[in-house]
Symmetry: C2
Subunit: 215 residues, 2 copies
């Protein structure tokens, strides 16, 4: 009987190998040969699934992001989770979230001179934004009654803050330790939720503008 190849699994294996190769050599220097070597694949086999290095890189970023979303989804199913409990699974506190954060930071840095690299991950950004919105609504009792515009602002603020915290955790790890990251994130979340409630109290007729923002 001929061996049946599960192509989705094969793609996932390649993406996993790419994650490892990226964490060793960096986004700019990693090659298809490096990815193939990680798992003893041939470059010919790789070429059957991905044409260019950047396709593999994107697949690796997507895979890491899906794993992160799966962890967050799993936490969303549990009860009594605070917003900090939920969000902290996205901070670079473990080896895998750190590797993902490092890959994103590399991509952003390269995109300064190669802006076409930013076109690909737009769907990841949209999913991420939606997931953070669900985290806010699930863990903050009154947030489901907030006008869209206010909720959008809170989501944007949290996403920006977590990006900044990620940059700091990777570039100034001695100061932005695990405890410091969690403390600053908690402070930001507490501050911005209190701000949202205060602005509703001051102006209960805030109009929902349905403004759509990118992650």
């Amino acid at each position: 009987m001929p061996k049946i190849v599960d192509h989705d699994e094969r793609r996932r294996d390649i993406a996993l190998a790419a994650c490892r190769a990226i964490s060793k050599k960096g986004l700019e220097k990693v090659t298809l040969v490096d990815v193939a070597r990680e798992e003893g694949f041939t470059t010919g086999m790789l070429a059957h699934y991905y044409q260019t290095k950047w396709e593999v890189v994107l697949a690796a970023l997507r895979l890491m992001h899906l794993q992160l979303e799966a962890r967050l989804e799993e936490r969303l199913q549990r009860r009594e989770m605070t917003l900090i409990d939920l969000l902290q699974s996205a901070l670079p506190l473990t080896a895998s979230t750190r590797a993902e954060a490092a890959a994103w930071l590399s991509l952003w840095g390269l995109a300064v001179t190669q802006p076409e690299l930013l076109k690909w991950p737009q769907d990841i950004h949209a999913d991420w934004r939606e997931l953070i919105r669900r985290c806010v609504i699930t863990s903050i009792d009154d947030a489901s009654h907030w006008p869209d515009r206010l909720l959008d602002d809170v989501v944007s603020s949290i996403i920006c803050f977590m990006d900044g915290l990620t940059v700091k955790a990777l570039t100034r790890p001695r100061f932005y330790t695990r405890a410091e990251q969690l403390r600053l994130l908690k402070m930001h979340v507490d501050a911005v939720v209190a701000y949202a409630r205060g602005s509703l109290k001051a102006n209960p007729r805030v109009l929902s503008t349905g403004a759509e923002l990118g992650a």
Copy 2:
């Protein structure tokens, strides 16, 4: 009479040329030859002042940062400046702050696999932190009475948020427009200042721990 060369001025001219070369080719690909060509210098003349490409890059980053600090200092001298008026001069809203932000983002991305690149700019980080602290104290009436620990946290929070906003402005410029950046920064500053005041009211005997944090 022999021509008198102002070496400091020469170094500044080279750093300026490096800023331009970096914005065109990116931190990774820029070469000493590119920098020399920008101003019609010879590479021999450059070598008299800087031995490696990375020394020139650091000089360029320092120069951009000094220019930014000078703009902020100038604003600090004026009266009636809000914290947003002060901080916005550091957001990537103009060609020059955008070029500086792009250079930093490139450096952070490269540092993922070359962490030694992060050793150099530590004094810039410390100066930056001190300057943001002065902005807070100058523009927020009661901040000079806040315990050190609380003031440190507010400074850390603002610095993290501005880093995140900068990443977003560079990687998602369509959504994080100038108006959106200013609106989100104002929201963050208002929220975190209110949080600081609230935490003092709730616990007026907050101890000053003198905790020292890195920018």
